[in-house]
Amino acid sequence: MTQAVQRRLFLVVALLVAGGALGVIAMGGIGENLVYFWTPAQLHQNSDKAVGATIRLGGVVQAGTVDWQQGDQLLTFTVGEQTVDTATPVVVKAKGAPPQMFREGIGVVVEGTMRKDGVFAADKVMVKHSNEYRAPTEGVDPESLYATVEEL
């Protein structure tokens, strides 16, 4: 084979491999592994594709809905769009202790999926925090920052 032919051959093979990879990925890889960032309202809008999909649901923990069963390590609460949300609340069940600072009225992000019975099964519960720092406030008792759901 001449040089030119070999170089072209290599190029063709490389392009074929790259093209093949592209095709395979476009067919399956990304589409089934998407994580959706939804609010409770968006979750209701997309209820057709919510079951089984990985969802990161962001909202506010509704007052009077938190139930923590320490024996079973089961945490149940309701997430809504705002502090009082009667339109689109979502019931969340999570395994494991609530994270520090978790309480009613706080912003949370829960990751998991929608079960067929309309309950959101969460693998992870994260308390939402902002990356913007605020100046230190005087006179805050550090102990109070460790307050948790137990006292509410």
Binding site: G29, Q100, Y146, T148
Partner: protein, 668 residues
């Protein structure tokens, strides 16, 4: 005052870059030695000015001079000294200044290194490096100016992001990554010089590969340190999450690793020049893309990047570099002399190199696609999504396995054409070891296919690497006689670059084993305990001893203590913490790890409740994580050995054995 001096220093640096870039490119076009000298002087001036600016910023941070804009953003009187020092790279403007500083260091190094060598290319290369310097100085002087005067100066500031204060690794991880990222500029400039000059000489292609080894080593160290930081700080018990920021650092690593290998083919056989230079350009472009992605806030939302002044400017620079690279490659690739000989037969090391390059290219492509997909998707449909870990694992695991496979098979194959029987003979021992590993794993009760496959291939690659490392010494001993130890030592020392390459491979093998084992047999337990209570996490028995409140100037911490035992054997006390930074308003868990070669026990607090006296703790048990960090260290040592400059004049000799056919040496 510092604000004024800092801005002046940056303007001097900018001027030096502009003049030096023009002089360098002029020197390249006209072959004027005078112009080339000017560009080197300007590189020195750039270094001096940007070092002065960085020094001034450090001074401002240490003296808490809140009249300087950047200090008001990240400074705090309550920060410990080391936090004040590293605040330089904790936020946007400071990190761009630090970037410019690192570029200054590299530019000065390049000026020194090429001062009396490579007359054909060095002026162009210097000019290109300083051209990149123009952009970064422009950023520091303009849109991301950290020295802007704040009047009146506030009394105190918020301090840097608490996540960055949580661990001492923050002192070395970002600089290592930056040295890797920024250092890619030098080989990029050298590659562009080769294209501009329309010629690539053997000495220039060797210099090119050496120039890449330095940033490659730093990038490797930066990525491994980043994993370590993530593991030791973030409290989720993992070291790699396919997070966009992590991917951004992995992408240029993949292309530059491919480059380091294809450059050997270019150096030895004068082949694949176009492909090799493409990888080089891609590595640089991906570092710019990575900086853009991590620094512009584009991952929060596609539409948020315009909120930082730096986003659009960076995107424009990226587009400019991309167009420049593509046009340059397309225009000049035919001018580079065509390859001298064809590719060898299917079972040759050459082919293994090609396969390795294709695997790395495929991995780069899939990771890049998964990383930018959410951005494209949001730009098109407005819907916010991210690509989940399963996608990356689906591609990363088999391609990673292929990499370990090729690392074993490639070096076992001779360069050029090989006879079938010779190949079979070379594969016998490594294959035997691989079979023993599989048998041993199964007998041990392990059943996970991918990790076992990686173990087997690692065993294979380990044997091949050790054989290859011993080959020059053994050949010497058989040829010349004398003492075996003396011959081994001599043979090893004389083939330093080749040995260094295999040391890096050994490090990769250790990392591969650690990753396969720790992800294959990861167990997470969650316990909620009251003081004095005992719980079980796998084979570990944890007893909660209580917690204390620790007060420091910039934070308070709730420190819980757990007594750890296995089958009545006491292993000591682990103290995971919950740190609370005043400026953050949210406690951050800081894990405690018992790390031994066999297994890691990783405790991270979920919740401390002082009222009811309970503590919830997550115990993550993963085997062989320790090997990842050791492997990283071995890779670093190997890279230093490879990149260590040879004595002038000895460079040809030292370089030559790398090129000697391994098969021939082994058989000699």
């Amino acid at each position: 005052m510092i604000s004024l001096l800092g801005r002046a220093a940056i303007l001097v640096a900018l001027a030096a870059c502009v003049v030096g870039a023009i002089a360098g490119i002029w020197g390249g076009v006209t072959r004027s030695a005078e112009a080339a000298r000017w560009s080197r002087w300007m590189a020195w001036a750039f270094f001096a000015a940007v070092a002065a600016a960085t020094g001034l910023m450090e001074y401002a941070l240490l003296t808490h001079d809140f009249s300087v804009h950047y200090v008001t953003e990240v400074g705090s009187r309550s920060s410990p000294t080391w936090v004040s020092i590293v605040s330089l790279w904790s936020s946007l403007e400071g990190s761009i200044l630090f970037w410019a500083f690192v570029l200054g260091v590299y530019a000065a190094g390049q000026a020194w290194w090429t001062r009396s060598r490579y007359p054909e290319h060095s002026a162009y290369a210097m000019g290109m490096t300083l051209l990149v310097g123009v952009f970064f100085c422009y950023l520091v002087a303009g849109v991301a100016n950290p020295f802007t005067l704040v009047d009146p100066a506030p009394a105190d500031g918020p301090g840097p992001n608490p996540l960055l204060q949580n661990h001492i690794l923050m002192v070395i991880h970002p600089p290592a990554l930056y040295l890797g990222y920024v250092g890619m500029t030098v080989p990029f400039a050298m590659g562009a010089a080769a294209l501009l000059a329309g010629r690539i000489t053997p000495s220039w292609s060797r210099a090119l590969r050496n120039a890449m080894l330095v940033p490659w080593g730093f990038l490797t160290a930066g990525i491994i340190l980043g994993g370590w930081w993530s593991y030791d700080v973030l409290g989720w018990g993992g070291y790699w999450a396919w997070d966009p920021v992590e991917n951004a650092s992995l992408l240029p690593w993949l292309t530059s690793t491919a480059f380091v290998h294809s450059a050997m083919l270019m150096e030895r056989k004068d082949q694949l020049k176009g492909w090799t230079l493409t990888l080089l350009m891609a590595s640089f472009l991906l570092t710019i893309l990575g900086t853009f992605m991590t620094r512009s806030g584009v991952f929060n939302s596609v539409h948020s990047f315009t909120q930082t002044p730096i986003g659009p400017v960076f995107l424009a620079f990226l587009a400019l570099c991309l167009v420049f690279s593509v046009v340059l490659l397309a225009a000049r690739i035919d001018k580079l002399t065509p390859p001298q000989e064809g590719l060898s037969g299917p079972a040759s090391r050459d082919t293994a190199f090609l396969a390795q390059n294709l695997v790395f290219a495929a991995l780069t492509f899939t990771v890049l696609l998964g990383t930018v997909w959410p951005l494209l998707n949001e730009a098109m449909s407005g819907e916010q999504i991210s690509v989940g870990e399963p996608y990356f694992n689906k591609w990363g695991v088999p391609l990673g396995f292929l990499i370990v496979f090729l690392m074993g098979v490639g070096p076992a194959l001779p360069w050029g054409r090989a006879s079938g029987s010779a190949v079979v003979q070379r594969f016998l021992v490594p294959l035997g070891v691989a079979a023993v590993v599989v048998g041993g794993s199964l007998a041990f009760g392990l059943r996970q296919p991918w990790p076992i496959a990686v173990f087997a291939m690692s065993g294979f690659a380990l044997v091949v690497s050790l054989q290859e490392m011993a080959a020059p010494g053994l050949a010497r001993w058989r040829g010349k006689g004398g003492s075996l130890v003396g011959a081994m030592l001599e043979g090893t020392l004389r083939t330093r670059r080749r040995q260094a390459g295999y040391v890096v491979h050994l490090g990769v093998i250790l990392v591969a084993i650690g990753v396969a084992a720790s992800s294959g047999w990861r167990h997470v337990h969650e316990l909620t305990l009251v003081e004095g209570q005992t719980g079980q996490a796998g084979r570990y028995t944890l007893t909660y001893l209580g917690h204390e409140l620790e007060r420091e100037a910039h934070r308070t911490a709730s420190v819980a203590r757990f007594h750890v035992a296995v089958d009545d054997r006491e292993l000591g006390v682990l103290s995971p913490r919950m740190n609370n930074y005043e400026a953050m308003g949210r406690p951050l868990p800081s894990p405690d790890v018992r790390s031994v070669p066999a297994e890691d026990l990783y405790l991270s607090l979920v919740q401390v409740d002082p009222k009811s006296g309970t503590v919830s703790v997550q115990a993550v048990i993963q085997p062989m994580v320790w090997w990842i960090w050791v492997g990283g260290l071995v890779m670093a040592v190997g890279t230093v050995l490879a990149a260590w400059p040879s004595r002038p004049g000895a460079s040809r000799k030292a370089g030559a054995p790398t090129g000697a056919p391994a098969g021939a040496e082994g058989a000699a």
